[in-house]
């Protein structure tokens, strides 16, 4: 009963925060609402005994992704009024899609009673059970090959991104490190002999 109450409270905060993301006029505020959304979801995951994933959600999404979001929002200087112009125009389509999603969720609830294996409740874990250990064993034990493949996928993404953005352009300013290191005193400092000036 207590769990249900906590869940209800968190769900209310979550929905409010999510609404805040899409209705706030200022993109920075929207990003802040998104932080609250992620943090609340993380607490919901704690309720499901997924402690490790909850912490990862906070660290990765709130800590890294949202900071990146804020950087982008501030660097791009998004014009909030222009971005919001389509709100009423897309509202109809948006509500249709929302209705479909709600319908799908209801269908899923209905499917729960039709003999699929998902009707089994989640088994409670014994005390001292460590999520982190289990995930680590799966990731670096049973699925180490997939893990390495994902690593190569990331390397590929880095190579591709650098190849597409880093190129020689006329007028490009960059540091030539070896020229900086090789510079001698004579190149930079010029000793000028001049007669002492007298104040008369």
């Amino acid at each position: 009963m207590l769990t249900l109450a906590i869940f209800g409270m968190l769900a209310a905060v979550l929905v409010t925060a999510a609404t805040g993301v899409i209705v706030s006029r200022n993109p920075v505020h929207a990003a802040m609402w998104l932080v609250l959304t992620f943090a609340t979801s993380a607490v919901l995951w704690l309720l499901l005994e997924a402690e490790f994933l909850a912490i990862i959600l906070v660290l990765v999404y709130v800590g890294a992704v949202m900071v990146l979001f804020l950087f982008v929002v501030m660097m791009l200087d998004v014009n909030a009024t222009v971005a919001r112009e389509g709100f009423t125009r897309y509202a109809a389509l948006g509500s249709v899609i929302a209705a479909i999603v709600v319908g799908e969720l209801l269908a899923l609830l209905w499917l729960r009673s039709s003999g699929l294996p998902i009707t089994r409740p989640l088994a409670g874990m014994p005390d001292g059970h460590s999520n982190t250990r289990e995930i680590g064993l799966e990731l670096f034990g049973g699925h180490v090959f997939e893990f390495e493949l994902a690593a190569f996928l990331l390397l590929l993404a880095i190579v591709a991104a650098i190849m597409l953005t880093h190129r020689q352009r006329p007028g490009l300013k960059y540091q030539d490190v070896s020229a900086q290191v090789k510079v001698r005193r004579e190149d930079r400092v010029r000793l000028v002999k001049m007669a002492a000036e007298r104040d008369e």
Binding site: P117, V144, M163
Partner: protein
Amino acid sequence: MNAEIAAFLGACLPEVVVGAGICVVLLAGLSGRHGRGLAYLLTLATLAASAWVVGASQPEAVVSMPGGSFVQDPLSRFLKLFVLALMAAIFVYARAYLRERRLETPEFYVLGLFALLGIFVMVSSMSFLTMYLGLEILALALYAMVALERGSAPGAEAAMKYFVLGAISSGCILYGISILYGVTGSVLFSGVAAAIEPAAVGQVAVLVGLAFVLVGIAFEFGAVPFHMWLPDVYHGAPTCVSLLVSTVPKVAAFALAFRILVDALGPVQADWQLLLTVFAVLSLVVGNLVAIVQTNIKRMLAYSTIAHVAFILLGFLAGEGGLPSALYYTVIYALMAAAAFGIVILVGGSGEADQIADFRGLNRRAPWFALMMLIVMISMVGVPPFAGFYAKWWVLWALVDAGQTWLAVVAVIFSVIGAFYYLRIVWLMYFDEGLNLPPVSAALDLRVVLSANSLLLLGLGLFPAGLLELCARALG
């Protein structure tokens, strides 16, 4: 512990070699002025090393990774050796193209090797998870390569389209996989097949998952109605990348289709055959009819790809007996497409020869390569004694054997219609005066590999049985 590592490496040694090659080529690219040449040579060395690793293993042995998600079996070995040979030829063609245009960067070779790694992973996958990762590695490498030429607006447009549509298809296939996993509780192909074998639990959900996965497969092949990206990508990408996109990913797509449809979803064969029939017939119609009105040879080859893909799908429709013919068709198609794009690169010289009109009077400019193009085009039509004939013949034969005669009739009718646009190029090369352009010149390696590639189509047409035997043995 050592035994575990040995078992692990035994099942993925070729991939480890390619992965190590990627890192080495990436570093070699940094070595200043000689970086490109060094990267090229090391790339070829990587191909040779992994070919040696694949070739040195027992041809009939099935080595599985602990957990069963990855395997070295006869099919994966056959496809890997073929892809390695094809990739070597592609790198030779691509280097000639890139050097003429001062586009050569070490990253091209790195991305090419990444694409190879993706294909290797796909052909050896025995689980949805590894298959999806391989698919993503391949796709991401191709997106970046399409945008290789930064200044080109069609290139950027093609890359954007490919990326967005690819992301959607990737989402579809992932959604399908998640449904299948939800229903069967396994990502292993064998586990999925075992779970849906009794055909009692969650049939509807299996079919929904199947439909989404099929969308991904059709996109990968470029079958109608998921073919939209193909003409634009072939057209907008640098020709050497069009060459890459049109050949080896189709081999990977064959593996994707075979492993998922036959290994994992074999129990619901009747259902996927229905959808695949629709894709195949639509591809035959759209590919052959739309190709006729093209004026750009890269777009024409794109629609020709769609028509050829229909034949590969028809091989899947002919049941168990059709699979070797589908594999044979994939191999022959990849060889034909590589040669066709190779000749487009060669004729282009330092410019572009992407209009069909650029082939006018080729016989006077380069009689030998006009003859090679003749071989490729006639082979694509499917005239004996060229390899394309036997490829079509065996697919049709398997269809008739499986009692799908009407599909064979449709395929023949549209192939005859399709003959027009291949023969038009032959006509332009030999019977059109053309402009007074200088003779075609090209590097020796390009000429040698291209000639070998085209003559192989004649050779395989004269002695077709060996390769078909290999295909049948690869599929066990």
